[in-house]
Amino acid sequence: MTGVLASAASDSAIVSFSVYLAVVFLLAWLANRAQSGKSFVGEYFLGSRNIGLWGFALTYAATAASGGSFMGFPSLIYTHGWVLAWWIAGYCMAPLIALGLLAKRINQVSRLAGAITVPELLRKRFDNQTVGTVATLMLVVFMFFFLLAQFKAGAEIMTVLLSDVEFVQQAANATEARLDGWRWIGEADGDFVLCLLFFAVAVVVYTSYGGYLAVVWTDVMQGIVMLIGVLIMLGLALWQVGGLESATQQLARMTPPEFGKATIDSPVDEDLDLRKGTWLQTQAGGIARLNENVTITEGIEPEVEVLFLTRDDSAYQQLEGKLPPHITAVETPGSREKLAYGSDKAGVYVSAPGPHKDNPTGFLPVALALSFFVFWNFSGAGQPSYMVRQMSFRDTRILRRSMVMVAVFFGLIYFPLVVIFTSARLLLPGMEVYADRIMPEMASHLTTAAGIPWLAGLLFAAPFAAVMSSVDSFLLLLSSGIVRDIYQQRINPDAPDSTLRKLSYATTIIVGLLAVVAMLNPPPFLQTLIVFASAGLGASFLAPVAMGLFWKRMTGEGALAGMFSGATVILVLYSWQYWQTGEFGPYNVMGLDPFVWGALISAFSVVIVSLTSPAPPAPLVEKYFGRD
């Protein structure tokens, strides 16, 4: 699929990957059996608040390490270099802040309230129906965006895994032909569509069938798979680049490749199809990579979009003798797109701010580095998917031990990922044309080059596990918001378990279908979508929930103001950026990420509106805070 450097996974890799999937389904079946005979909603959505150490720590960590961590993050490391270690550095505090800041109080207050969802917690804490309804709506909207990014990531992994399977390719070609000409989805690759459907069916089935317990059990298994996968990749990557020192020095010499236009010169008499990702010799003696599919017919020299490698020493060595003979790319003069920061700069991959296509101040200027140090911790603390987990641990001993366990997990995942994917630039040059596929391509490359292709199955399973463990949690969160917070609380409080069960299954399936339809024409950068949804959820929920847990004077009106203002800031700043540039992304006021502004304005709104609205009744305050 992607050319001469990365071979696709072998049959044995597919077998080991299938074994992993089979275990996931087995766990879902066991979880479903374990729930039989218990109250449906409490067990299905929260595991009866009886989750132990491994379950709590790993379901939290695995949910946090989502498709963003295993697909989007590697793509960013590959594109911008070592500066991504600075970008992710906030995770060193995540166990203490994102996990530890609210966990004890959330668990305590949710037990006092008898709440099993975040909107329900807010509704009962403030004794205000409107707060619960608004919280549910915000959760559903932002969580859906989060879900979209995960579906895309899952489909991308499957696409690489199955790229060499003949019947899949035949089916993909047939699908592509059938979709051709359709609005919205006509542009989608056939193999991506098939893999998206497969992924959606797999994850929707096991989540809806097994509920929260299945999600926790599979998260434990998936967390272990992720950890083992990353550590194996780290060892293989360091071995194949000749050690970290060698890799860093080679990286320091490299300058970023540049997109541009070229005409394809070929003496062949017959039609020739060249796939996106094909490597070509340039007329000037350089190397370029096709960024689109092209058909060459006699007498016509099509102009195509290509990626020109610049001073990529390792790429030249690897590609020597492997380029298609007799076909050359003739660069169109003046067509090269110079980067706004980093073009022709040696050292740009080992220093800050890192290269950037559009931003003249680079990828990570200081203000943005500070933003992300805030973002990963406080946006993490404000994510409803984590809050739900914090409601479910059995006792505070489990919380304390889990913090240490999560710290070990994050340390062994995130920092090694930076090492692995800065090395990837040396092993797999030109992956800018498939930026979001670098993780599975690297897994395939490392194991094939090491002569152990069966291991690719496990390495593919690591990012797949990350995606699945997040998707299942988000699906369940959406399902609980609709079933528990809307249907059961507002429409039919006396609904029997059997009705709630059917409705939960149906909701999960419908949400999955909607995500599939939306992702048939996916946006290019996964990470942007994830950061948008995280920022929206964090800015809407962090201040209202955190202050609600720690500030006695806070009122329901204050919570509403906090949610509305936080969400509005995020929507306005992302819309402004789109309006200004035509690209979906954050508009950074004074260099700070929208989340920082959203969270600050949300907190400010909570304080002002709470102080100007009537004080909460004393019994309500005493119920959740005790006596002074």
Partner: protein
């Protein structure tokens, strides 16, 4: 019960102060060190420590290790166990939940 809850709340507030204070120190270290050293290298050679760019080691890897030690201290010694209220008596069933809500509204 409410006295215990009050003490537990005050302990949670002390822990919150520790967590926010620690975060502030680390934000200053990581962002401050990086802003002073990470922007210097723009050449074909890079100063390394343990094979990594040196600014990564002193500005990110070392803080990460120290942060781990502080997390262990916080979880092992600073954070106190709290008896979480057993909500087994409180039904998560919708009907009862809705009933108790209506009762609360009547009382208030």
């Amino acid at each position: 019960m409410t006295d215990e809850l009050g003490e537990s709340f005050r302990q949670s507030r002390r822990e919150l102060t520790f967590q926010l204070g620690t975060w502030t120190i680390f934000a200053a270290w990581v962002v401050g060190y990086g802003s002073n050293t990470a922007f210097e290298a723009e050449s074909e050679t890079v100063v390394t420590t343990l094979g990594m760019p040196s600014w990564i080691v002193w500005g990110i890897a070392v803080p990460w290790i120290v942060a781990f030690a502080i997390t262990v201290f916080f979880a092992g010694w600073f954070m106190k166990d709290t008896a979480l209220v057993d909500d087994s008596a409180e039904s998560t069933d919708a009907a009862e939940s809705q009933g108790s809500l209506q009762q609360e509204s009547v009382e208030s």
